[in-house]
C-alpha cells in the first residue's frame, strides 16, 4: 500500500515537471533568443546565450514603431478600462438596487450580450465607426470595447449580495442614491472592481480582432496588430522579433504576477463559477 502510494506520487510529480518544462520552454527559448547577438540566432541549437547582450531590446525600443504601438496600447487599454468600469458600475447599481419598470427584461437583454458572439457584429460595427468618421483612429478602437455585459453581470451579482441593512441605514440618514453608491457600495466592492479592471485591461491589451479591422495606419496600431507588421520591418531578425514579442507581452505578464489572486478571482467571477 505504502509503496503504491509513493509510486503514484512519483509518477504525478514527474508528469508535473515534464508539463512545466513543456509549458515554460517556449517563453524561455524566446527570452534566450532575444538576449543573443543577432548572428547567433541562426547558429543552430544553443540553449543559453553567450554572450548575453541587450542589443535586440535596445534596437526595437529606439528604432522602429514598437514604442508607438506600446503607447497606443496603453492609451486604448486604459481608456477602455476606465470607461467600461464607469458606465458599468452605474448600470449594475441601478439594476441591482433601484426599482423601475422593465428592469428585469432589460437586464436579461443585456445578458444576452454575454452569449452572443461579438465576431458576428464586426461588419455593421465597422460601417458605423466608419460613418462616425472614427475608422482608423484610437477612438474607433476604444468605443465598441466599452460594452461589457460580463462585467455588468459580475458587478450586479456582487451588489445583490450586499446585506440590505447597509442600504437601509444610509436611506434613514437621508442619503441619495448617488451618495449610497459612492459611500456604501463602492467601498464594499473595491476588490471586485479592481479584479474587473485588471481583466478588462488585459482583455483590451490583448484584443486582436477589432483593432485589426478598424485600424489601418501604423501610427494607430496597438501592440497585437503592430507586432504582426514587424516581420516586414525587420526582415529576418529573430532576436529583435522575440524582443518585441516579449516587450509586447510584458505589461500583462507583470500585471498577472503582481495580482495573481485578483486575476484568478476576476476570471472565475467572469465565468460565473465564483465571485
Amino acid at each position: 500500500m505504502h509503496t503504491k502510494m509513493t509510486l503514484t506520487s512519483l509518477l504525478a510529480i514527474s508528469l508535473t515537471v515534464l508539463l512545466c518544462v513543456l509549458w515554460g520552454a517556449p517563453l524561455l527559448w524566446a527570452i534566450s533568443t532575444a538576449l543573443r547577438p543577432e548572428a547567433q540566432t541562426v547558429d543552430g541549437l544553443q540553449w543559453l546565450p553567450d554572450p548575453v547582450v541587450f542589443d535586440a531590446f535596445v534596437r526595437v525600443l529606439t528604432m522602429g514603431d514598437l514604442p508607438v504601438f506600446f503607447v497606443n496600447s496603453v492609451v486604448t487599454s486604459l481608456a477602455v478600462t476606465v470607461l467600461t468600469l464607469l458606465i458599468t458600475v452605474l448600470a449594475a447599481y441601478s439594476f441591482s438596487q433601484l426599482r423601475f419598470k422593465g428592469a428585469n427584461l432589460l437586464f436579461w437583454c443585456c445578458m444576452f450580450g454575454i452569449i452572443f458572439p461579438f465576431e458576428a457584429l464586426v461588419i455593421p460595427l465597422f460601417r458605423q465607426i466608419y460613418h462616425l468618421g472614427l475608422a482608423d483612429s484610437l477612438g474607433g478602437v476604444i468605443l465598441p470595447q466599452v460594452v461589457s455585459p460580463m462585467v455588468l453581470f459580475v458587478l450586479k451579482r456582487f451588489f445583490d449580495q450586499v446585506p440590505k441593512d447597509f442600504r437601509e441605514a444610509a436611506v434613514l440618514d437621508g442619503a441619495r442614491e448617488w451618495q449610497i453608491l459612492h459611500r456604501v457600495y463602492l467601498p464594499l466592492s473595491r476588490n471586485i472592481i479592481y479584479a474587473m479592471a485588471i481583466i478588462t485591461f488585459m482583455g483590451a491589451w490583448n484584443n486582436f480582432l477589432w483593432p485589426f479591422l478598424v485600424v489601418s495606419s501604423t501610427e494607430n496600431m496597438t501592440i497585437p496588430i503592430g507586432l504582426t507588421q514587424l516581420n516586414d520591418t525587420y526582415g529576418v531578425r529573430y532576436a529583435q522579433t522575440m524582443a518585441s514579442a516579449l516587450i509586447g507581452g510584458l505589461p500583462v505578464a507583470i500585471m498577472y504576477v503582481m495580482f495573481q489572486k485578483r486575476v484568478a478571482s476576476g476570471f472565475l467571477a467572469a465565468t460565473g463559477l465564483k465571485g
Binding site: T8, L19, P26, A91, P144, M202, N206, P224, V263
Partner: protein, 310 residues
C-alpha cells in the same frame, strides 16, 4: 402602477429628516435616477451591440458593400451560401480545429489541475508557469510559436533533427495551430478546474480514505462526480471558443496552405473586408451566430440533464 405610487410616498413616510426629500422635484428625481445611471451603459449597448446585431441580419438580405448600402436581394445570399463550397470547406476546417482542441484542452486542463492540486509546495509557481501563456497577446503567442516551429532555425526541428515546414504543410498546419492553441489557453481551464477541486468538501475524501478506497476509486466516485458540472461548462466554453478561431490561423498560416486552415471567421473577414461584400459576409455571420447559439442551447440542456440525474 401600484409600485410606483408607493415609491412616491415612501421618502416622506420613511425619511426622518424630512424637508427636502418630500418635495415634488425630488420625488421625480428619484424616479429618474435609475435611468440616469443606466443611460451611459444602455446608450453604448444600443450603439455597439443591439443596432449592429439587427444590422447584421438586415445586411444579410442585401448586396451591400463594406461602406455603402445597396438594395435588398431577399434570400439570395443564403441560397448562394448553401452552394458555396468555400463556405462549407471553412466550416469543415473550423470543425477540424474544434476536434483537435476541445477534448484535449478539457482533459489536459483537468489532469493539470489535479496534478497541481496534489502539490504541497510550488503549487502557485506551477500554476503560474501553465497560466502565463494565456495572458499573452495572440500576436506574441504566434511569434513565439512561429519561431519555435521555424523550418530551418526552429528549436523543434533542431531537436528532432527534421526540417519540416510545419505551417506550410497541409497535413501539419492545423494540428500545429491546435498545439500552439493548447499551449496558449489550457491555463484558463486549469484555473477553472482548480477552483472546482478546492470546492469539493474535504470530508468526502476523509470518509473514503477511512473506508480504504483506492486512489482510482476516490477519483471515480468523488472527484469526477463533483467535477462533472464544471467539466461540461469547460467543454462548452471551449467548443464555442474554438468556433471563434481566427487570430491563430490568420497569424500562423494565413489560412493556407491551399486554404487548408481557412476557418469560418477568416472566410467572413475575407468576404466582408477584403472583397468588400458586406451583404454576403453578414449572411455568413448570421449562420455563425445560429451555430454558436445552438451549441450553447445544447450545452445548457446537457447541464440540466446531468444536474437532474445528480
Amino acid at each position: 402602477m401600484d409600485n410606483q405610487e408607493t415609491r412616491n410616498v415612501t421618502p416622506c413616510a420613511q425619511t426622518q429628516t424630512g424637508q427636502a426629500s418630500c418635495s415634488v422635484p425630488n420625488a421625480l428625481g428619484k424616479q429618474l435616477t435609475p435611468w440616469v445611471m443606466l443611460a451611459p451603459f444602455l446608450l453604448a449597448f444600443l450603439l455597439f451591440f443591439v443596432i449592429p446585431a439587427f444590422q447584421t441580419l438586415q445586411l444579410s438580405f442585401t448586396d451591400s458593400g463594406l461602406t455603402e448600402t445597396h438594395g435588398y436581394v431577399g434570400f439570395a445570399n443564403y441560397i448562394e451560401l448553401l452552394q458555396d463550397s468555400s463556405f462549407w470547406a471553412s466550416l469543415v476546417q473550423t470543425a477540424y480545429f474544434a476536434l483537435l482542441t476541445v477534448l484535449p484542452l478539457t482533459a489536459l486542463g483537468l489532469v493539470m489541475a489535479m496534478l497541481i492540486n496534489r502539490l504541497t509546495r510550488f503549487a502557485g509557481l506551477v500554476q503560474a508557469i501553465i497560466f502565463i501563456p494565456n495572458i499573452l497577446p495572440i500576436a506574441v503567442m504566434a511569434m513565439i510559436a512561429g519561431w519555435m516551429l521555424h523550418p530551418t532555425f526552429g528549436v523543434v526541428n533542431l531537436v528532432a533533427g527534421t526540417d519540416v515546414a510545419w505551417f506550410n504543410d497541409p497535413d501539419f498546419a492545423m494540428p500545429m495551430v491546435a498545439i500552439a492553441t493548447i499551449w496558449w489557453t489550457v491555463g484558463f481551464n486549469v484555473l477553472l478546474f482548480l477552483a472546482a477541486l478546492k470546492n469539493i468538501p474535504q470530508d468526502l475524501y476523509e470518509a473514503a480514505k477511512l473506508d480504504g478506497a483506492s486512489e482510482w476509486g476516490i477519483f471515480r466516485f468523488i472527484t469526477w462526480r463533483q467535477l462533472r458540472p464544471v467539466t461540461v461548462m469547460v467543454f462548452g466554453l471551449q467548443l464555442v471558443a474554438s468556433l471563434k478561431i481566427f487570430g491563430q490561423t490568420y497569424l500562423l498560416t494565413g489560412g493556407g496552405p491551399f486554404d487548408s486552415t481557412k476557418v469560418v471567421l477568416h472566410y467572413m473577414y475575407e468576404t466582408g473586408f477584403i472583397n468588400q461584400n458586406a451583404g454576403y459576409a453578414s449572411a455568413i455571420a448570421v449562420v455563425f451566430v445560429l451555430i454558436v447559439l445552438l451549441i450553447l442551447l445544447l450545452q445548457s440542456l446537457i447541464t440540466r440533464f446531468i444536474n437532474r440525474r445528480g
